[in-house]
């Protein structure tokens, strides 16, 4: 039994030790610095790899969800040369339905390569979808506190499938 107690004591010592080292009292290391969660300064090179705007449609809900849905296409981008903490902003807007979908992905030096932004489908007011097609704006930007570059911007038609 004694070695187990010692093991548990060791675990507690590790917990207390790490807390002390990373805490405000000693402030030896800031472990949260490496994993930023908010946008900062910086920039990145981003190119669109895949975006199928034909997927932008309005159809009926499935699995018993009795409302129409606006389906939003995913976009896959190639990210390189990440400097600082910029973010990708993927925005789809359908003004006449009062829908604005914004999906963001924070970039850090570590996550170069392929990044996928996949916005969720949006439920619509069943009584609000009266037209057969709607106009949408799709926009992709790289944004930070010191830069804002629009990579892609297009107007699309949203087809209503009944």
């Amino acid at each position: 039994m004694a070695p187990v107690s010692r093991l548990e004591g060791g675990v507690v010592a590790v917990l207390v030790g790490v807390l002390l080292l990373t805490g405000p009292v000693t402030g030896v290391v800031d472990v949260t610095e490496r994993n930023p969660t908010t946008v900062g300064d910086g920039n990145a090179t981003v190119t669109i790899e895949h975006l199928d705007t034909d997927e932008l449609v309005i159809d009926e809900g499935r699995f018993g969800a009795a409302v129409p849905y606006l389906r939003l296409p995913a976009v896959t981008v190639q990210v390189s040369d990440v400097d600082g903490h910029p973010r990708i902003v993927y925005r789809i807007q359908v003004r006449s339905l009062k829908i604005e979908s914004v999906t963001t992905e924070l970039l850090t030096a570590g996550n170069s390569g392929t990044v996928k932004l996949d916005p969720r489908a949006r439920a619509l007011d069943p009584d609000g979808v009266s037209a057969d097609r709607y106009r949408a704006t799709i926009e992709l930007r790289v944004q930070s506190f010191d830069s804002d570059t629009t990579i892609y911007r297009t107007n699309e038609t949203v087809e209503v499938r009944r």
């Binding site: 039994m1 187990v4 107690s5 093991l7 548990e8 060791g10 675990v11 507690v12 590790v14 917990l15 207390v16 790490v18 807390l19 002390l20 990373t22 805490g23 405000p24 009292v25 800031d30 472990v31 949260t32 994993n35 930023p36 969660t37 809900g61 499935r62 699995f63 018993g64 969800a65 009795a66 409302v67 849905y69 996949d118 969720r120 489908a121 949006r122 439920a123 619509l124 007011d125 069943p126």
Partner: protein, 659 residues
């Protein structure tokens, strides 16, 4: 009961003052009962802690969290500049205004979060908040391992738990993101409901253990949290889980009071009332009707009470109401008028201007009295004394005035209660409403949820309640045998009567408001679902299945949870469902498994020869697993808000995208 006291405490004891360990152990025994209770609590809190998002799921939480911040600073009344979270009034439904100052409601809940906030603030002086939470989790794993090692007689669990504790902590350090210090009051509020959810499980275990086998009690305790939406609301700091925990505690105390006549029984009966008195501090409306139901059942089943029993009960109940009275008097000057009945700040108007809360210049008073509080406000009709006679009357007026206020408040509450029950009884005859609330939710206004059909009925969210299909035949058989003498009911039958009465009254008073948006799991009825879950283990067919087919039941449940999560991730994920579609998929699962369980338990009850206990065990495990899967996926995938308390969970959720 097993010995609760860990053997290695002896070493710690030497370094502590005389008798303090005994007091800690006695306090632990009072709350948890035994080592199994501790293990249930730790297991529930640790597992639900992984699904915990620090953030505001629902806007109602803003004023409560703001009240925690203010009260921690020693202020009960809030001014607009005190709001830590959500600065505008329009985004804080449930904010009330009286005499120019702002108040939240549910102060019992606010106060429950304060000691937790105090501990968090203290420990955060040493370590960063994010790692304080991670360290707390790891410490919990260590303790959980110790309990399990003894309970299951498997010493190897202890070092394994140590390994899990240290590796998860180091992983948390590697993945650590900043958790702003400002969020600690919200974290404390969320921990208060998480801890309460665990306690609801413990007290359900203790309640069932009074009457039935231990294994049934353990399944009931864990099931109450993981197989009902209690787990869903555990880290969403609404009143529901807190009220549910206190209600289960009250039922347990009542049951205990019926098993013993000594002073322990008297204290238990007083406790049964006191827990409900505390509910009144959280939500006076719910507390009132629950106390009323308890009183009726208590008097009917035990009409003759000793003087000591009455004195202890009245004393404890009175004590439990004191915090509510004091809070109400401090806010509005009237003990029986909770903040909820004060004028609500209109959520339609978003006013960014800073308001001065001092004096009557800003029109706060007129606004306060013009609200929809219902009836006049006795607290604000002070007369101005001028003549000598008036001055004399003025001297005794506070006493007379107070009595008058109490009398008029009692009349007000009484009329209000009659109105509510009257509306409720009318709603009971509305079959369409009953179908929507309890079975299949199809109608209702979804526009406040951005038109997403994310609201589930009672059965859709809690398929284990399908087992209650066996109640009508059992009840009929019981009546047929003609042994109905309410005065001579056994302790467990008296408890059944209490549970049924409270569930019925609670449902009736809420029915007029249902179905309602943003309920997700019909959350207003969460306490009813907890009582109903207790009802399922009172069914012989269910107990029989757990007793004889425990291994099958546990294996099925585990398989349903793991298999369900993986299947839904791979299967449903390929359809890229919207949130409403995903929730409706769970609704279908709930109806199917609930229906299957109803057939199995109903069949086993009516024709035992036709249905094997193993069938009941399997359908019970699957039905329970379906709710657990919903709880896990709802937190990890469907409802994205705030930031995960655990960065490890956040990383998993990020890489396993379903919607």
């Amino acid at each position: 009961m097993t010995d609760w006291r860990p053997e290695s405490l002896d070493r710690v004891e030497r370094s502590m003052p005389e008798g303090s360990i005994e007091r800690v152990v006695a306090a632990g025994r009072l709350v948890f009962g035994d080592r199994t209770g501790v293990a249930i609590w730790l297991g529930l809190v640790l597992s639900l802690g992984l699904c915990w998002r620090v953030g505001f799921f629902i806007t109602d939480t803003y004023p409560i969290a703001n009240a925690v911040v203010s009260l921690a600073d020693g202020r009960l009344a809030m001014s607009a500049t005190d709001f830590e979270y959500s600065l505008t009034l329009g985004t804080q439904p449930g904010l009330h205004r009286y005499d120019g100052a702002y108040y939240a409601r549910n102060y019992g809940h606010v106060v429950a979060a304060l000691p937790i906030l105090f501990v968090l603030e203290t420990v955060s002086v040493v370590g960063p908040p994010r790692l304080v939470l991670a360290a707390g989790w790891s410490l919990g794993v260590l303790l959980f391992g110790r309990q399990l090692a003894v309970l299951l007689d498997r010493p190897a669990i202890r070092p394994a738990a140590g390994l899990v504790a240290v590796s998860s902590f180091l992983l948390a350090v590697a993945l650590a993101t900043a958790l702003p210090h400002d969020l600690l009051p919200l974290v404390a509020l969320q921990l208060s409901t998480l801890f309460a959810a665990g306690l609801a499980g413990v007290w359900c275990y203790r309640l069932v253990a009074l009457f039935h086998e231990r294994r049934v009690a353990v399944v009931a305790g864990v099931g109450l949290v993981l197989a009902t939406p209690v787990g869903f609301w555990a880290t969403i700091p609404k009143r529901h889980v807190l009220v549910t925990a206190l209600l289960v505690a009250s039922v347990y105390a009542f049951a205990l009071s019926r098993t013993t006549d000594d002073v322990r029984g008297d204290l238990a009966l007083g406790g049964a009332y006191a827990f409900l008195g505390l509910i009144a501090w959280v939500h006076a409306f719910e507390g009132f009707f629950l106390v009323l139901s308890l009183f009726v059942v208590d008097v009917v089943t035990e009409p003759r009470k000793g003087r000591r029993r009455i004195a202890v009960t009245v004393g404890l109940f009175g004590l439990s109401l004191l915090p509510m009275f004091v809070t109400n008097v401090l806010i509005s000057g009237t003990p029986l008028r909770p903040p909820r009945l004060l004028p609500q700040v209109d959520t339609g108007s978003v006013d960014l201007r800073p308001e001065t809360a001092t004096g009557g210049l800003d029109g706060g008073d007129s606004g306060a009295n013009a609200g929809r509080a219902g009836g006049e406000n006795p607290g604000s009709t002070e007369s101005e004394a001028s003549s000598p006679l008036d001055r004399l009357v003025g001297r005794i007026a506070p006493v007379l005035g107070f009595a008058g206020i109490v009398r008029s408040e009692i009349v007000f509450v009484g009329e209000y209660a009659v109105d509510v029950v009257d509306d409720g009884l009318r709603a009971v005859t509305d079959l369409d409403r009953l179908w929507n609330v309890f079975v299949r939710r199809t109608s209702g206004n979804n526009s406040p949820n951005d038109y997403e059909p994310i609201d589930l009925s009672v059965l859709e969210s809690t398929p284990v309640l399908g087992a209650l299909a066996a109640v009508p035949p059992l009840g009929a058989a019981w009546l047929w045998r003609g042994r109905i003498s309410i005065g001579a009911l056994s302790a467990r039958r008296q408890t059944d009567l209490l549970v049924c009465t409270q569930a019925a009254i609670f449902s009736v008073v809420y029915l007029p408001q249902l179905p309602l948006y943003s309920q997700i799991t019909t959350r207003y009825l969460l306490p009813v679902m907890a009582l109903a879950a207790y009802g399922t283990v009172r069914l012989p067919a269910v107990r029989d299945a757990i007793n004889t087919e425990l291994a099958t039941f546990v294996a099925t449940y585990g398989l349903a949870v793991v298999g369900g999560i993986v299947t839904i991730w791979l299967g449903l994920g390929s359809f890229e469902p919207a949130i409403g579609e995903a929730v409706q998929f769970h609704a279908t699962l709930g109806l199917l498994t609930g229906g299957a369980l109803a057939v199995a338990v109903g069949g086993r009850t009516v024709a035992p020869g036709w249905v094997h206990p193993r069938t009941v065990a399997v359908s019970l495990g699957v039905a329970g697993g379906v709710t657990t899967v919903f709880i896990v996926l709802a937190a990890l995938e469907y409802f994205a808000y705030g930031t995960f308390a655990s960065d490890v969970a956040a990383t998993v959720a990020r890489h396993v995208s379903l919607l």
